[in-house]
Structures are given as structure tokens and as C-alpha cells.
Symmetry: C2
Subunit: 213 residues, 2 copies
Amino acid sequence: MTSADDRSDADVDGRAPRRQARGQRRIEEILDAAGRVFVREGYDAATTNAVAKEAGISPGSLYQYFRNKDEIAQGLAVRYAAGLAELQRAAFDGVDPQGLSLEDLVRRVIDPVVAFNVAHPAFKTLFARTDPPPGLAEATAPLDASIHERAAALVAARAPQLAPADAARVSVVATQLVRAMMPLVVAASGAERERLAAEARSAVAAYLRVALG
Amino acid sequence: MTSADDRSDADVDGRAPRRQARGQRRIEEILDAAGRVFVREGYDAATTNAVAKEAGISPGSLYQYFRNKDEIAQGLAVRYAAGLAELQRAAFDGVDPQGLSLEDLVRRVIDPVVAFNVAHPAFKTLFARTDPPPGLAEATAPLDASIHERAAALVAARAPQLAPADAARVSVVATQLVRAMMPLVVAASGAERERLAAEARSAVAAYLRVALG
DNA sequence: GGAGAATACGAGCAATCACTCGCATATGTC
DNA sequence: GACATATGCGAGTGATTGCTCGTATTCTCC
């Protein structure tokens, strides 16, 4: 996985170009622009030329930093994986998951996820798809993996008696439930958004109460 | 809405061509082929030329029956809406929903839906998308509406005390949960598929038990 | 201040795709 | 069997798009 991440800014020969500070800034700008375009147009309909235009650069410059569209998605996915990991770390900072009620545990997981989705609307264009095209699936695979890893760890901690296959299924299902609710929550606003977030928490908690025995 | 539906077989001048039996058969063949192509490639990546080839006809013949790609999706959606309605009618034939336990009710709704998804794998390529492109959204809007209508009717029957806004939210959320689970269920097979279907039933039932009060 | 590398440009190429058009054949009706 | 219409064909078109390439500018380091 780490070697795959490194490849993302490696040359065809495996030689990584040495980025100047300007280049690093450009990469961030491109990713920001890509997020906005993905939200506006959807991933499939988004064109690389549109991303370049949104970033205020030429198509040629874009391809200086990303070899293709999927690699842009991958860049965003890496960002998001880091942001989510940080959020979850903060949510459980100095807290023992075992000591929480199921409702509190679910709240601590979902509320930051909701906040993250609201703050980064492009996130769901990459992650909340039930049938991503192959290239996008590959780009977001590490993100998916890290999310499932965290979910599986929580399930294992709460229900150590569960057979591994059952635990895996429960964490996949719970993740899927959250994934499905995010577009609904983000699409709403104000009080309705909070109500939908509450429904998401309620659904996941209710499911887990049954599934974890 | 009804006039929009009629427009689908209407000419530009509003004159509907009179189909021969041969033409009706072709339409069915094209829809069958489109379903297979959508499953193989996904809706966005599927090309109309590929659909024509899969159906064993020329692109020109395809456009004899469908004005564009979205209209093919709409044709499939109409088929699916009818199939689902029939399935649900059969599931509740001579049964009073009020007299069932929540678990039985959920089972009667979800099991046919699972069977339908397994039998028609293209269904989820149209329906189980969290962010469909605008054209597809328009094509599947009637299908979405009829599904939500049925869900809302069941919710209203079970929880007449719920405010309309709350009832609507519950039925939307429940529908979304089912929608999200279908790709997981269909992707699995054999015993694992049945276990995932059981998780879907369990999640929806657990949610509804809380949400319906 | 000069060499080498990174950054930047943007016109345009090659490929793809939704859809058309002119014309031929099949079908149903009188 | 003749007429009208439905069905059928498939090469081709106009538009789009991911991506390249030749070239010009800016940065870093000596």
C-alpha cells in the first residue's frame, strides 16, 4: 500500500521529480479545484480540462502533476483518508471505546463523519458510490481499506466473541449504512440535516445492538 | 407526468408511430441487451453502439425506438416499476399489513426485493446510485416515486400518529437503507448472500422499531 | 550569471461516442 | 399486387475529451 502511494508522484522510470514549493501549492490547488468540479458535475462527467480551468491553469500544467483523471481522484482520496483518520483520532482522544454506551460510541463515530462530509462535499462523490467505475474504485481502494479497518477494529473491540467472518460482515454492513446516509444528510440543511443525522445514528446503533448480540 | 410518459413513444410532431408486433419484440430485446450492457460496463460507460451490438441490431435501428440513452434507461425503469409493483402485490396478497409483526412485514417487503435484484442485476445500476447523472435521475424519477409511495403507505399504516414530515423522513431513510444493502447482497452468493439479506432485514427492522415508536 | 530542472502554456491530436441520414426491405391493408 | 408505413441498415458526422508536445518562463543551486 505504501509503495502504491509513492508511485503516485513517481515518473514512468520510477524517478520522482523534485517538487518545488510552488509545485506543492499547485497540487493542492488542483485538488481543491477537482473537488469543486466533481461536486458540480459528478465524477464521470467532470473533464480534466474543466478541472484545469477551475484551478486557473492549463491542461498541460495539470498533467505535470497528475498522470490522469483517476490519479486526481486518488490524490483527493489520500487527503480524505488523512483527514478522516485525524478526525477519528480526535474523537477518541483519551477515551476508552469499551467504556462507552453503544449510542455514545456511534455518536462519536458518526458525528465527525457527518461534519467531514458537510465540510468536504466532494468526499461523497468518490466514496458514497455503490458502483464506482473501475478506475475510481482503484483510486479509492486505500481509502476504503482504511475506513473498513477502523470499523472492523471497533467491532472487534465491542464483540470479541464474534467469529471473524461475522465481525467482518457486521462492519461492512455498518459502514455501508453510514455511506448510504451521508448523501441524504448532506443534501438536507439546517434542522432537517440534524434530524437526518439523528436517524443515521439511530439506524446504525439499532443495527449494531442486534448484530453485536 | 403522464403526458411526459406518453411523450416517450411520441414523434417530434406528437404523432405516435404504430408499432408492429416485430417492433414491440425489438423494444424488449433492446431493453434486455441494455440491461446486460449496463451491468457489464455501468450506465455511464455503456455506449449506445454497444447496446445495439448486444441486441444484434444496427445503431440506426436502436434509434428507431429510443430517442437517446436516457430513454433506454427510462424504458428499463418502467419495466422494473411494473415488476416490483407486481411482486409487492403478490407479497401482500390477502394479507393485512397491520396484522403482521414488524419483522414479518420487513421480511415480506425485503425478500421479494432481494429476489428481484438478483433476477435483474441491471436494476441496481439504475436505482442504487447515490448520485445519478441528471438524465438518469429524470429517467428513474417515476420509479423512485412509485417506490417511495409504497414505502410511505406502509409507514403511514404502521404509525398513523407520526407527523407527515416525520413519516416521510422515516420512509426515505428506510428506502435508502434497503437501496444501500442491495449491491452488497447481490455481489455475494450462496450462503453469504442469505446472511447479508438477513442483515438487511435486521437493520431495517431495528431502525423501524425505533423510528416508528 | 549560468546550467539544469521544474513549472507553465495552449493549440491540437487521436480516439470515442451519441446520434443522423439516405436508402433498402418487410409488413399490413385495401 | 399496390400502396403506405414500419422496420432495418451502417457508414459517417459533429462534438467532446483525455491527454501530448514543442516551447517558453521561472526557480534552485553552484
